[in-house]
Each structure stands twice: as C-alpha cells, then as structure tokens.
C-alpha cells in the first residue's frame, strides 16, 4: 500500500497541476481490504504447501502498573506499537505526539490498544513509566508502556520491522526508527506509519478506521 502511495505522490508531483485541483492526496488507493492491509514480512511454505506468515512471537513484559503484559493481553484485539525511551532527546516526543493522536481518535474503541516499548529498561523503571503515562494523561488499560528484559525488548524490534540499536554516537545513546505499527488479532503486522510524519499518520488514522470497521464492524 505504501509503495502505491509513493508512486501516486511521485506521479502527482510530475503533474503539478494535480495539486491545484485536488485538495488531498487520494485517501484510498485500493478498495480491496486484503490488498490494503497485507500480512507483512517473510513468508514460508510448508512441505504441504501451506503458507506460514510472519507473526509476533510470545513475549512477556511489565507495564506501568506492574502488570505482566503478554500476547494474551491482546487476545482478539489489534494494537498499535512503537519503541521509545524516556530520556530520548531526538524523535521520541515527536512520535509520542502522533501516538497520542491514535489514542485520542480510538480512545473508546476497546478493540484497539496501544503499546510503547521502552528501549532503556535500566532507567525506564515501572515507576518512571507510570509517571510518564500520567504526564501524558493517558489511561493505563488502553495504553501500555512496557519494560522488561533488555534482550527480549531488543529481540522484539525486528519482529515489528523496527530498527533499534545502542549507539554511543547518537543523541541519547539509542538509535531507533520512529515507526508506529499495526498488529492484528492474529499477531500479524498489517500496516505502519512513520511516527515522525504527521501527514503520514493522518492517512494512517483513516486506514485504521477502515481496518477496525472491517475486522470488528466498528471503528469507534
């Protein structure tokens, strides 16, 4: 879907007049749900010929209320996730502002949760995450801020197609991408947006409405 959007943007840039006749970029590039929200990641084929899709493996973390959060927390629910750390001086607050837009738009929709993984478990203790969530003014049963075993956290990035590495040469010491990622009730990654790009997130919010409508018959 993203490549289609990029292609369309490039085409419209070539035909500059396009921008003067149409206010917004096309909201929907395909009307086909499966095409719009493909199961992302490498696929494998069993000897029997069945497709094995990439899916999020088992995990266990602790949230800002000291509750254990596992895949079971998200049974039958979709969730939006990102990676961050409290002392992050670079893109994190920018991404958080966009995650807040998702939170606010779907605050009353029980089928969608939000999950932010801390990449700095040493400093981002449960108490620190609690304080962070409080200062953001968000509800802990809707938006989980996770800490836990550092190795497990760093092992999860790539499952969500997010890059994160400790790097003493970057501000804050951790280099990571600001993607926000949609995972469905079957643990499949279905879409993502660049959390540093408000326009991309605006489109993502529209897509999420469609996704929730299709999966749960209700976007609100």
């Amino acid at each position: 879907m993203r490549y289609l959007i990029i292609t369309i943007l490039l085409l419209s840039a070539l035909f500059g007049i396009y921008y003067f006749t149409v206010d917004n970029k096309p909201a929907v590039v395909t009307s086909d749900f499966e095409e719009a929200f493909p199961i992302l990641g490498f696929k494998d084929i069993t000897p029997e010929g069945d497709t094995i899709n990439h899916s999020i493996p088992d995990f266990s973390f602790i949230n800002q209320d000291s509750l254990e959060i596992t895949n079971e927390t998200f049974a039958n629910k979709a969730y939006i996730t990102d990676f961050f750390f409290i002392h992050c001086p670079s893109i994190c607050p920018r991404v958080k502002a966009q995650m807040l837009r998702v939170y606010e738009k779907f605050e009353d929709n029980d089928n969608l949760l939000l999950v932010s993984h801390s990449l700095d478990p040493k400093r981002d203790t449960v108490a620190a995450l609690r304080s962070y969530a409080d200062k953001l003014g968000v509800d802990g049963s809707k938006w989980h801020f996770l800490t836990g075993e550092k190795d497990m956290i760093y092992a999860m990035n790539s499952e969500y197609f997010i890059v994160a590495n400790e790097d003493p040469d970057v501000a804050g010491g951790i280099d990571h991408s600001g993607r926000i990622v949609l995972v469905d009730k079957n643990r499949h990654v279905r879409a993502f947006a660049e959390g540093t790009d408000p326009d991309d997130v605006t489109q993502f919010l529209k897509d999420l409405e469609w996704f929730l409508e299709e999966e749960y018959g209700n976007a609100n």
Binding site: I86, H87, P89, S90, I91, C92, P93, R94, K96, A97, L100, Y132, D134, K135, L136, G137, A171, G172
Partner: protein, 121 residues
C-alpha cells in the same frame, strides 16, 4: 514556482528558526506547544519572560527538577545542546521570544555571553 516565490518573503530570525526546528522542535514541537505535562510549552510561556537570565544556560547545559510554566508543574530532564555556539543560542532565543505570538523582547550576543559565563552548572 509557488514555493520559490514564498521563499522570497522576509522571515524574521530565520537562522534561529532553522536551529529551533533541528535542535528543539523534536520535544517542544514546531508550534512551541510542548507535549502535555511531559514537556513544557514555549509558545505563550511566562517562564521565558520571568526567567530571561536562565534561557541561554538551559539551552547549553539543560535543566532538571521541577519548573512551573503558566501555572503547570513540569519535571522532566532536558538535556543541553553543547554543540551550539553563543551566536546560535542567541539566534534561537530571539526566535522563540518572538515566535507564535510571543513578545518577550530581543536578546543580543553580548547578553548571551555574559549569561553563559554565570551558569549554575
């Protein structure tokens, strides 16, 4: 064409604006609104006016502990930006003091240099 025309318009404190957007806007936002109770706003922030003599030091060395901005309490660590020169810090201060409807007066490099020599590090 439209873009190149609009670039010809005079824009005040353009270096300060560019520096703000690359060094400060990740946290304080392009619109100076900050982020909820995590990161204080700069737009309309009384702190910029009441703590004029601290702003250059905060930009260079950061700040920790509770601060009150427009009656709200904030308590998150801000890291300093040591790579900025005195002149660049002055440009940023002039930008944030005039942007978003702020009207907190002009700074100059001499004032900034004096301030930076007396920071509580």
């Amino acid at each position: 064409m439209i873009i190149s025309f609009s670039n010809c318009e005079y824009e005040a404190f353009s270096q300060g604006k560019a520096l703000y957007e690359s060094q400060c806007a990740n946290c304080h936002n392009e619109n100076g609104q900050g982020l909820r109770n995590l990161i204080p706003p700069l737009a309309g922030a009384d702190y910029l006016e009441t703590h004029k003599e601290e702003i250059a030091c905060i930009i260079r060395y950061g700040i920790e502990g509770e601060m009150i901005v427009n009656g709200e309490s904030y308590n998150s660590q801000m890291v300093g930006i040591p790579i900025l020169t005195d002149v660049q810090i002055n440009n940023i201060i002039n930008y944030i003091n005039q942007a978003w409807g702020n009207n907190y007066g002009l700074s100059n490099v001499k004032m900034v240099k004096e301030q930076l020599e007396n920071c509580n590090k």
